[in-house]
């Protein structure tokens, strides 16, 4: 502008050259933003999910909202999530035996927010998140980083992910929030997770994957409110090392709308717990826009080395627990999920915005062995997801 005001013939030439350069740069910018091949463009999406959980002494409603937006495409995606855990009737000393006073009613809200960033650049996927969760006696901060690389002409994906949790554990006593250190000196519970996974297209109808996971947790890991039978507080080791290997297959059965998905997981830790998890799923697209998923899961674990079946501990016992998770038990979980894609409704006037949207209903019923104090559980959820 200033060049034009002071114009003359030679300066007019400069202006023209500058304008040409700017036009080229603008064109390049437009190509960069708008000219991205369609395959690269993922959709922006909002998902609302209402989760319901009920067992003998606890009932939880957990609505969650998740929004994901590409800026401007999947080379950079931002996601935000908010979850509310509304525990309408529960015990903070969940699972306490009746002889120690049993469960007492407690109402609590937990707020959790998560910010996610991800990027897809050629064969690489990068991701990261930060999560903050707060409730009356527990504050959790966690972050995670992940990287994945497509291999063998995109037939396989190798992934590596790490996450770290830094939780402040407290105990509410006489109306005051006090740090809970258990047998240690700090109320900081730190958890480091590392996962390495590989997924491969084994056949034109078969996908398979393996995942190796490890966790090291340090700090107080017992419940500050729960007591064993003699009235002493729980006391868990301050260090726990855990590992798991799991695998899955997804097989599209020829000439049917059926996809079968077996999963298996083997788990072990240095508290003496070993566990098997077998999960069999069948996905059936029985109508063009309707998918039904049936599920059966078997889970079995051994008890921790410091678990006492009768709940009594000698005075010399270093570790004590009343946590039902530490016992030997097994469970069976049948479940079903129905997903209806709403693209059909999008043809109607005023409902075009429903293109790519879906609704989903899920129910799982957990049946446990008799010795497991948490008892059977019912899990349900309703979800609605819409692109924008």
């Amino acid at each position: 502008m200033r060049l034009r005001l002071t114009g003359g013939a030679p300066r007019r030439g400069v202006v023209m050259r500058v304008m040409r350069v700017m036009r080229v740069m603008l064109a390049m910018l437009v190509i960069l933003i708008a000219g991205v091949p369609r395959a690269l463009v993922a959709e922006d999406r909002m998902t609302v999910r209402g989760n319901y959980y009920r067992e003998a002494s606890t009932r939880v409603l957990a609505p969650v909202v998740y929004v994901e937006k590409d800026v401007p495409d999947e080379r950079f995606t931002v996601g935000a999530e908010y979850l509310l855990d509304a525990v309408t009737s529960a015990s903070i000393g969940a699972g306490a035996a009746a002889v120690t006073g049993g469960d007492f009613l407690f109402t609590e809200y937990r707020h959790e927010t998560t910010l996610r960033l991800s990027s897809k650049l050629r064969n690489w996927s990068l991701g990261g998140y930060f999560r903050y969760s707060t409730e009356s006696d527990w504050i959790s901060r966690s972050f995670g980083l992940s990287v994945a690389r497509e291999l063998f002409n995109r037939a396989g994906t190798l992934s590596l992910s790490y996450s770290g949790n830094f939780d402040s554990v407290n105990k509410i006593f006489a109306g005051r929030v006090l740090p809970w250190t258990s047998t240690g000196t700090s109320n900081l519970q730190q958890v480091n997770y590392l996962g390495v996974g590989y997924t491969h297209a084994l056949h034109r109808r078969l996908l398979g994957g393996l995942l190796f996971e490890g966790i090291v947790a340090t700090g107080p890991q017992d419940n500050p409110y729960r007591q064993v039978r003699d009235g002493l507080p729980e006391s868990h080791p301050l260090l726990r090392r855990r590992g798991a290997i799991s695998g899955f297959l997804r097989w599209a059965v020829p000439r049917t709308p059926l996809v079968l998905e077996p999963r298996y997981r083997l788990y072990g830790d240095d508290w003496g717990i070993a566990a098997h998890g077998l999960d069999l799923r069948a996905h059936v697209r029985f109508l063009k826009r309707v998918v039904l998923r049936g599920r059966y899961r078997f889970y079995s674990q051994s008890g921790a080395y410091f678990w006492a079946e009768d709940g009594y501990y000698p005075a010399t016992a270093i570790y004590r627990t009343a946590d039902p998770k530490m016992t030997r038990f097994h469970s069976h979980t049948p479940g079903a999920e129905l997903t209806i894609e709403l693209d059909g409704l999008a043809r109607l006037r005023g409902l075009k915005w429903l293109r790519g949207a879906w609704v989903q209903a899920t129910y799982n019923h957990v049946l446990v062995s008799k010795n497991y104090r948490f008892g059977d559980a019912r899990l349900g959820s309703l979800a609605f997801s819409v692109p924008f």
Binding site: S161, G197, T199, R204, S246, G247, A252, Y264, V366
Partner: protein
């Protein structure tokens, strides 16, 4: 009756065998033109992310074990 389907050692060997079988099978590569079925939504391991998150949360509260719910970027590039 024991709830254990088999001994831990035997299961570990089975898991190791499955890992080796998958590693061996990974040498075979399905061509991009043959991945039509693999690109169906039901074949996408990442399609159940939010539900897996809820399941994982509940399992960690009720069970001594953990994991098996996938890691980031665990799908094949079939989309």
């Amino acid at each position: 009756m024991s709830p254990w389907p088999m001994s831990t050692a035997r299961s570990s060997l089975l898991a190791l065998g499955a890992a080796l079988a998958l590693a061996a099978a990974a040498c075979a590569t399905v061509k991009p033109s043959e991945r039509e079925v693999l690109s169906r939504p039901e074949m996408n391991p990442a399609s159940e992310g939010l539900e897996e998150q809820f399941q994982s949360h509940v399992e960690s509260a009720r069970e001594g074990g953990f994991g098996g719910h996938g890691a980031a970027g665990g799908g094949c590039g079939c989309g």
